[in-house]
Structures are given as structure tokens and as C-alpha cells.
């Protein structure tokens, strides 16, 4: 079983650059700078069919070629380490376990698209990651692996760290750009895409931590090697965080296309209590899977065929004690808190959704509550401004699909809406959270 991203984690001392170099570290960068042109690098990444590991699954090579084609300068590279999706902590462990691998991947990206400045945007809660990366940058600069004239070529590359301040929506790339500019972390309208006009309105390439960690091994071993791992359409491995009612929660790196059943019973050691009821794939904004999907391959394209998304890599496994209405109430509470407020569909929609699930939990929902929820979720999916708002629909729609019967038990068929009259306007303020 080969690991790519986590290959060095736990084997080398992450605070010692010599140990990383000893494990073939910075070799890919050396080879690239001396023997390969930027176009070669982009071609290798394209041929490897690597797709972004942040959740959306956009082809990395294609993204880089857009940034390369942009005429304006300077260009910027941003490593998105604002890992806010509940249940996801893969990026934290990559940054803590092998910080130099990320720096090397970023330098390779910088060379490929022609950028000399890079930022790592880390969420404020990840103190250890901030410390380790700060030290890694300093060490690499000392050895001339970052900074001016790397490997005695005329390529300069500087990496700086930016620290977030607690906002989920900042994981969305345009919101992240606003936050980096010292503004409220609200998403921007696309287009223009960041490759055209990003940080400080300059061409910017944003990738996830895990994506950058894949680059150096691909350049070093070639795309043929990479394509042998995983599935035909999505090669490579995926790092998952597995959590919930299982015997061994934690982090695994497995080839693309593995099934949920294998993850639970082979890697996680089975259920810790109760019987398997459902799993949420990809964090709080992810789809809820019932036992019907235990054998579906976890891979971007296969899941898309089933109408689902792989998301960020969190897999939350739940037993039969958890009620779906209670769980979704908790999910919605999270969205109410994290909705940035820019668009009203998300700001008001999440709040209404939260109230509806609270009623379902107490078994006093209106007679047509499920219909209303479905309608609202579909509206969110279609009209919310950013992917975050749109993704609120995923857990709701999949729960309605697989656990509609259980949810229907929370409906009180006799409870009708009170008609709105002049004497009885609905302006009662509902206290929330």
C-alpha cells in the first residue's frame, strides 16, 4: 500500500529540514528548475489527472495553465489551509507532519505559473501548524531552497503566512482572498476568476494543502506512476478523516475508489457501539449516506453519477442511536452561525431550515413541513451566491431521500399554519442559537 501525501508523516522529524531532504525532499524542485521548463511541469500535472483535493475536484493542471496564461504581474500563489469543514483535519496533520512537502509543492507551482510570492492562509485555531510552517520557511530560506536564486537559478520564491480569525466561509477561495486583503470574508462574484483577478486584483492561483502535497511526488516519480494508483478517472490517493461511532477514529490515506464498507470494517475496526445507520461524507456540507450506499466507490466521478459529492474528505459514521432530525438540527445551527450574510437566500434560508428541523425534532412540525424544506433546499442549491450556501442543500436533500420516513414521523398532521392577519402578523422574534 503506497502513501503519497502522508508518506513522511510520523517517519521524519517535521521540524528538521535535513530529515526531509534525506527522504528525497526538494529533489523534485531541483530537477524541475534545472532540467524542465514551466510548460513541462504543467504538462506533467495535467497528464497526471490530479484534481484539487479541497472538495470541488477541479483539475489542477488546467487551473495552473489559466494562471500561467494570465498576462498581468506580479502573480500570487495561495495555499488554502483554512480547513473549516467540521470533521476535517487532514490539512492540519499534513502541515504538522510534513510542512516542507507543501512548501516544495508551492515552489514548483510558482515556477510553473511564473509567480514569486506565495501565501499560506492558515486558520487561527491551528497554532502548531503555524509554528511548524514558520520554522520550515525559515529553515528552507537558510539553505537557499526558498528565497532568492533558488538552486543558483534566477528563480525567486518567497512564502509568507497569513492567519485567519475564525470563519467557515473563508475556505471558499474568493472569500479567502477578501479576508487576506483585510476585508470581511464574503465571497466575490465569479467571473473574474482568481486566475485572472485574485489577491490585490492580480492573477492568483489557489490550491488546497493536500493538492500541493501531491505535486512533488508527481514531478519526482512521473505521471505514469501516479496514474497507477487509484481509479482510471481520478488517479491518486485521498486522505480521509474517519470519525464518529467507530473503534479507531483518525486519518487514513487510501487509493481513490474505496468503498464505505471497507473504510468502516477494514480501516476503522468496525462500529464502536450500536449498528451502522448513516454516514456523512465530506463534512457538514456533505451528503448523508444510508446503508444502501455502503458499497458505492468513493471517487469524484462515480459519486457524481449517483448525484452525490465526495467533498473535503471527512467521513462521519453514526450508529442507530442518533436521530436524523437531531443531527440535522445541529448541522443547521452550524450553518446559521457561519452564513456570511451576503445573500439573503442563505442568511434567511439557513435560519428557516434550522427552525424547521427543530420543530421536526420536537415532533411538532407543520403538516407540510417536509415539502417546504425540500423546496427551500432546492432554492438554496439554485440561488445561493457561493458554493457554501449551495452546499447547505446537500445534507438536507440526501436525508430526505434516504431518511424521509423517519423525518415524516416528526410531522404533526393536524398542525396548520396560522393565517396572517392584520391583528396577528408574524413578527414574533424567534431567538436563535
Amino acid at each position: 500500500m503506497s502513501r503519497i501525501v502522508l508518506e513522511n508523516c510520523g517517519k521524519i522529524n517535521p521540524e528538521d529540514i535535513e530529515e526531509y531532504i534525506g527522504a528525497d525532499g526538494y529533489e523534485a524542485l531541483g530537477i524541475a528548475l534545472e532540467k524542465k521548463t514551466p510548460e513541462d511541469i504543467i504538462k506533467i500535472v495535467k497528464d497526471s489527472k490530479l484534481v484539487g483535493r479541497g472538495g470541488a475536484g477541479f483539475p489542477t493542471g488546467l487551473k495552473w495553465s489559466f494562471a500561467r496564461a494570465a498576462k498581468e504581474s506580479p502573480k500570487y500563489i495561495i495555499c488554502n489551509a483554512d480547513e473549516g469543514e467540521p470533521g476535517t483535519f487532514k490539512d492540519r496533520l499534513i502541515m504538522e507532519g510534513d510542512p516542507h512537502k507543501i512548501l516544495e509543492g508551492m515552489a514548483l507551482c510558482g515556477y510553473a505559473i511564473g509567480a514569486n510570492t506565495a501565501y499560506i492562509y492558515i486558520r487561527g485555531e491551528y497554532q502548531l501548524s503555524i509554528q511548524r510552517l514558520t520554522k520550515a520557511i525559515k529553515d528552507a530560506e537558510k539553505l537557499g531552497l526558498l528565497g532568492k536564486n533558488i538552486f543558483d537559478t534566477d528563480f525567486d520564491f518567497n512564502v509568507k503566512i497569513k492567519i485567519g480569525a475564525g470563519s467557515y466561509v473563508c475556505g471558499e477561495e474568493t472569500a479567502l482572498l477578501n479576508s487576506m486583503e483585510g476585508l470581511r470574508g464574503e465571497p466575490r462574484l465569479k467571473p473574474p476568476f482568481p486566475a485572472e483577478s485574485g489577491f490585490l486584483s492580480k492573477p492568483t492561483n489557489v490550491n488546497n494543502v493536500e493538492t500541493f502535497a501531491n505535486i512533488a511526488p508527481i514531478i519526482l516519480n512521473g505521471f505514469e506512476w501516479f496514474k497507477k494508483i487509484g481509479t482510471e478517472s481520478t488517479p491518486g490517493t485521498k486522505v480521509y478523516t474517519i470519525l464518529g461511532h467507530i473503534k479507531r477514529p483518525g486519518l487514513i490515506e487510501v487509493p481513490m475508489g474505496i468503498t464505505l464498507r471497507e473504510i468502516i470494517y477494514d480501516y476503522a475496526g468496525g462500529m464502536s457501539s450500536g449498528k451502522f445507520k448513516m454516514a456523512q461524507i465530506g463534512g457538514t456540507a456533505g451528503d448523508i449516506f444510508s446503508s444502501k450506499l455502503l458499497d458505492a466507490p468513493l471517487e469524484y466521478q462515480e459519486l457524481q453519477k449517483l448525484g452525490h459529492n465526495l467533498g473535503s474528505g471527512a467521513i462521519l459514521i453514526m450508529n442507530d442511536i442518533i436521530s436524523i432530525a437531531d443531527f440535522l438540527t445541529c448541522c443547521m445551527k452550524f450553518f446559521v452561525h457561519e452564513s456570511c450574510g451576503k445573500c439573503s437566500v442563505c442568511r434567511i434560508g439557513t435560519k428557516q431550515m434550522y427552525n424547521a428541523f427543530k420543530r421536526l425534532k420536537k415532533k411538532e412540525a407543520y403538516f407540510d413541513e417536509l415539502k417546504t424544506i425540500k423546496e427551500l433546499a432546492e432554492k438554496l442549491k439554485l440561488t445561493a451566491f457561493c458554493p457554501m450556501g449551495q452546499s447547505v442543500a446537500s445534507p438536507v436533500l440526501s436525508a430526505l431521500k434516504y431518511f424521509g420516513e423517519e423525518l415524516a414521523r416528526g410531522v404533526n398532521p393536524d398542525k396548520k399554519h396560522e393565517p396572517i392577519t392584520r391583528e396577528n402578523p408574524i413578527i414574533r422574534r424567534q431567538k436563535i442559537c
Binding site: E83, G84, E85, P86, G87, T88, F89, R92, R123, G124, E125, Y126, Q127, K162, I163, G164, A165, G166, S167, Y168, S179, M180, E181, G182, L183, R184, G185, E186, L200, T241, L243, G244, H245, P249, G250, L251, Q280, T284, A314, L316, M318, I322, F327, C330, C331, K333, F334, H337, E338, C340
Partner: protein, 154 residues
């Protein structure tokens, strides 16, 4: 460090605002961004007061009200929720006699709910300032809080 010195350290460009706000908050003994600091920042950085407050209030890590020396942040996201985060809140509330968002009378602790802390492998989890604690239960929480209280008494 004064507010002026912090601005000087990072430069007065708008893109450094978050970093500056972090430092301003950290050097305040009550862990918050006070009104005077906002006015000073506005002058130093040439950003309207509303601009600074509007940005800072967007982020959950910044506070405009005085807080305790130790900020307890308990994760309330789904992974911790299904493993009993609610009981963790209750345990802390009964132990310290404060509710979420409140500070103890001795100014030692502030209790806050937070989104995922990224330590779900050991859920339910919480952070006290920069220190993370996992696999919590009532007994463990009492022990952790007792230790801090003891340390402070000395």
C-alpha cells in the same frame, strides 16, 4: 506593545489588518479589542472606524467585550455533537457557574461555543487558549479546570 507599535511592525496596509487585530487582542489583558484601540487603528491605518469594526465583527475569534484570562472554546459541530458535546457544556456550566458567552466573576474563565477545532479524532473536544483537550468527560473537565485554578492561586 502599543497599538501604534503593532501597526508599525506589520505596516499600515489594509491586508495586514487581521494580523494586527490578532496582536491588539492578544496584548490586551482582558483578551478583547477595546474601543480606544479601534479608534487608534483607524487613525494609524487610515481606515474608517466602521470599516475596522465591520471587518473585526465578521470573525468569531475577535471580541469587543472583556473576556477572562482563559478562554474555553467547546466545539459544537456535528462530530462532537454526536459524541456528547452538550454534556461537556453542562459540566463546565455547572462547575464554573457561567453560561455560554459569560465570564466568571474572578475574571479567569470565559466559556464560548465554537465551530470545529480540527481535533475531531478525539471528540468531544475543547480548547483553552491555545491548548487543545480531547476525549472529554465530566471528570476530566473538572480535573483540567481544577489544575488551572490551582495554578492561578499560587
Amino acid at each position: 506593545m502599543t497599538t501604534k507599535e503593532i501597526v508599525k511592525k506589520y505596516g499600515n496596509k489594509r491586508e495586514n489588518l487581521l494580523q494586527i487585530l490578532h496582536d491588539v487582542q492578544n496584548q490586551n489583558p482582558n483578551n478583547y479589542i477595546c474601543k480606544e484601540a479601534i479608534y487608534e487603528l483607524s487613525k494609524e491605518m487610515d481606515i474608517p472606524v466602521s470599516g475596522i469594526k465591520g471587518t473585526a465583527s465578521f470573525y468569531t475569534m475577535f471580541s469587543f467585550t472583556p473576556r477572562g484570562k482563559y478562554i474555553i472554546r467547546v466545539c459544537e459541530s456535528p462530530p462532537c455533537h454526536i459524541l456528547g458535546a452538550q454534556t461537556i457544556f453542562e459540566a463546565i456550566e455547572s462547575k464554573l457557574g457561567i453560561k455560554v458567552g459569560e465570564t466568571t466573576d474572578d475574571g479567569l474563565f470565559t466559556l464560548e461555543g465554537t465551530s470545529c477545532l480540527g481535533i475531531c479524532g478525539v471528540a468531544p473536544a475543547m480548547m483553552i487558549n491555545d491548548e487543545a483537550y480531547g476525549n472529554l468527560n465530566e471528570k476530566k473537565i473538572c480535573k483540567i479546570l481544577d489544575q488551572i485554578q490551582e495554578r492561578e492561586r499560587k
